[in-house]
């Protein structure tokens, strides 16, 4: 059992959790993730480790409610427990001094971008961050990103805050302004990552993305997370989650993530929220 030491609601559907997991806190590096299972009947779902605190023995995760498991997690609070937490999984981000690194985060993707921006900054990079959300209310980690970046540009799709538009437009502008960029990290919804790669491809700027396929074990045992990278089959949980974005077959990833659309809907409809227990339970 893993205790939730702290919870902070970041937006209507996004919450930050600090979970007591001292061993993972000690080992984890930027780019790595955990897999959680909430209870005996639960699914195993992956979540990025956003931060850790060695003295408290906690790791930080940020989860967006998109389906049953993330909604059930969203209903938990301080003092509640999560049955299983396993990690740190995946390879750590390759960190070196690239000169200038541009960190692009979209929506919930800002959560995984943050630890990478922090590590790049610590390695001496000039970090320019571009973070975006559909609307102001959904923008997360602005303060933290500002602290770890030399420059921060915020965009919203609806213009309710920062630049009116998409993160890719700002990225294009940076390139047009002849900024010398050693690395672009782009993480967010798959279509956004594809768009980031399309911007950087003509300029051959090294672009790293973090993929989010459907996973089961997270140890390379099942192959559920396979994605075609440069024509080869890769297991995202052990070979990734980060890859050279110019090599990724994004269309395949988008399609594979729709495998269980029908079942996900059933799962949500079967579960209803109980005010009394602050829990999603079966009807």
């Amino acid at each position: 059992m893993f205790e939730i030491a702290e919870k902070k609601q970041l937006s209507h559907t996004v919450a930050l959790f600090k979970i007591k997991a001292p061993m993972i806190a000690k080992k984890r590096k930027a780019g790595q993730f955990i897999i959680i299972r909430l209870n005996e009947h639960g699914e195993r779902i992956p979540l990025t480790i956003v931060d850790s605190d060695n003295s408290e023995g906690t790791i930080t995760i940020i989860s967006q409610e998109v389906g049953k498991t993330t909604s059930m997690l969203g209903a938990l609070g301080k003092g509640d427990t999560i049955m299983d937490v396993v990690g740190p999984l995946g390879k750590a981000t390759h960190i070196e001094n690239f000169g200038t690194a541009v960190c692009v985060g979209g929506g919930i993707g800002i959560a995984p971008v943050y630890p990478i921006a922090k590590a790049l900054k610590a390695a001496g990079n000039k970090v320019i961050s571009i973070i975006g959300a559909r609307t102001k209310e959904l923008l997360i980690l602005e303060h933290e990103m500002r602290k770890t970046s030399d420059e921060l540009i915020v965009t919203t799709d609806d213009g309710s805050y920062g630049h009116h538009g998409f993160v890719t437009q700002i990225l294009q502008k940076l390139i047009d302004e002849q900024t010398k960029i050693g690395l672009v990290v782009g993480i967010g919804p798959v279509p956004m990552m594809r768009a980031v790669c399309n911007v950087t491809r003509p300029y051959k700027i090294h672009t790293v993305v973090s993929l989010n396929p459907i996973m089961v074990d997270g140890t390379g045992m099942c192959g559920s997370c396979r994605v075609t990278i440069g024509g080869k089959n890769k297991f995202v949980c052990v070979d990734g989650p980060e890859f050279d974005g110019h090599e990724v077959d994004f269309d395949e990833l988008i399609r594979r993530n729709r495998s269980y659309l029908k079942e996900e809907k059933i799962a949500m409809e079967e579960a209803t929220y109980h005010e009394g227990t602050r829990c999603y339970e079966r009807r």
């Binding site: 990690g87 089961v216 074990d217 269980y260 799962a267």
Partner: protein, 472 residues
């Protein structure tokens, strides 16, 4: 035993074990064979003629004293029989069910030379079940702590055996398991209807009661490396991480929605209980027309699991002929009874999807058998121009498993062969790294439960010796 008695005993026919009706059982996940009653077990046990030089013992990879435990059953001393079994086999209820007995102990049974061999596996299962259901399971006396600590990586049959053997000798043992439960393939691979999970759980519980600590959710190589374990106070490490890396065919369309590795399919269903979705949260695509590629036990398990999800049709696609199928005859037979179809001498060449990339068809090619290959089996060769397509919406690829590279990647001083399997000294289980031992599927490639346990036993002996002498 006098000759007259032997003759009498040889007359007793092999006792059948009742099984769930095929029509009923394909609708549920309950166990198929229902086990002996005490009367049937005693009758069957009487068929053993108590050979002076029992060949059966040599046929068992862990050399269980078969005539002894069988005699105890014949005498009605069922709990004693279970205790006798547990002296050499920590998981008798499991082995009695899943051992390929027809190739091991029963193959060489003397009674089998003239007729049907003694049902050693069924008797083993009976004794272990009887003890679990009727008696207080007794824990052996654990000696005082020797001051030594051993880390075991992987809670499959190999790891559980090493751990059990070493606590019995007074060492402290911690098992680190990557998944959220212990048991390895017994929990995530072999289906409920062949090996009920509560049996595995109670065997694991027994190992815990002896004092073994099991830490789940601990991926070694990630959470801690082998070197860190050795630095952090463990005097020796055993690696029993199994053969958990699915092999794909590398043909077009393999990443379509609906194409599974057997590992994923079985893990979703067994470990995550997707057959109880939405009561359990993990889904699986059930499919109307299911194809399973491969001819081994894993293929058979996947196919029989698929049958229980009520599709219209489940077909095994295998590139050789029935004689070459590596699956146990009993399992093939069970599958047939349950309505499994076979498409032999056939190999998939590509998967075809619709515009949402969902699997719709499999294109196959006919095969014929050519010259024998290194394995001695005749090599299947494609028949030119014989391609044809069949409708399929779920396909399960069960053509074997490779070695998981997680540990060798983080411990490069542990030598592996060209397939990634850890190389060890056959007699001692020692790897190329001081203080580190290994066994089971990570060494052998996909093998059997009992061989993994045999490796565990051997490694425990040599770990014990190493801990005493410190000599590598």
């Amino acid at each position: 035993m006098d000759p007259k008695e032997i003759k009498e005993r040889m007359k007793i026919p092999r006792q059948a074990m009742s099984e769930q009706d095929p029509k009923e059982r394909v609708k549920n996940f309950y166990e198929v064979p229902q086990g002996y009653t005490p009367e049937l077990a005693m009758q069957e046990a009487k068929r053993c003629i108590q050979c002076k030089n029992p060949l059966c013992v040599g046929g068992c990879p862990v050399n269980i004293d078969i005539p002894w435990f069988v005699r105890l059953i014949a005498e009605g001393k069922f709990v004693d029989a279970a205790k006798k079994l547990k002296e050499t086999n920590a998981l008798p209820a499991v082995c009695g069910r899943v051992c390929p007995q027809e190739d091991q102990c029963e193959k060489v049974c003397l009674v089998g030379k003239k007729g049907q061999p003694v049902s050693i596996g069924r008797l083993e299962r009976f004794a272990a079940d009887y003890e679990r259901e009727h008696a207080e399971v007794t824990i052996p006396n654990i000696p005082k702590w020797t001051g030594k600590k051993v880390a075991v990586v992987g809670a499959g049959p190999a790891g559980l055996t090493v751990a059990g053997d070493l606590v019995k000798r007074g060492h402290k043992v911690t098992i680190f398991e990557a998944l959220h439960v212990a048991g390895g393939v017994l929990m995530y691979g072999i289906p409920e209807f062949r090996l009920p999970k509560k049996i595995v759980e109670s065997e694991v519980e027994y190992v815990k009661k002896m004092g073994v600590e099991i830490v789940c959710n601990a991926v070694i190589g990630k959470l801690e490396t082998i070197d860190e374990l050795l630095l952090n106070g463990y005097n020796a490490v055993f690696i029993g991480t199994g053969a958990g890396l699915p092999v794909f065919m590398n043909i077009p369309g393999e990443n379509l929605i609906g194409v599974y590795s057997a590992n994923e399919y079985l893990t979703r269903l067994n470990l995550m209980r997707a057959y109880q979705f939405p009561e359990y949260d993990t889904p699986v695509l059930r499919g109307k027309k299911v194809a399973v590629v491969g001819g081994g036990n894993t293929a058979m398990d996947a196919a029989r699991t698929a049958l229980r999800l009520c599709p219209e049709e489940v077909t095994i696609i295998y590139r050789r002929s029935r004689e070459e199928m590596p699956a146990r005859i009993e399992e093939v037979h069970h599958g047939e009874e349950e309505g499994l179809k076979f498409m032999l001498l056939t190999n998939p060449t590509r998967f075809i999807g619709d515009d949402e990339a969902r699997l719709k068809k499999v294109e196959c090619i006919k095969m014929e058998l050519g010259e024998p290959d290194e394995s001695g089996r005749r090599r299947p060769v494609p028949v030119k121009g014989s391609e044809f397509q069949i409708d399929v919406d779920v396909a399960i690829v069960a053509i074997g498993n490779g070695a998981n590279p997680l540990i060798p990647q983080t411990s490069p001083d542990i030598k592996v062969n060209k397939w990634g399997n850890i190389t060890v000294n056959q007699d001692t289980g020692r790897t190329s790294k001081k203080g580190v031992f290994s066994g089971g599927d990570i060494v052998r490639g996909g093998a059997t439960v009992i061989l993994a346990m045999g490796d565990g036993r051997k490694a425990a002996d040599s770990i014990h010796e190493y801990l005493a002498t410190g000599v590598w």
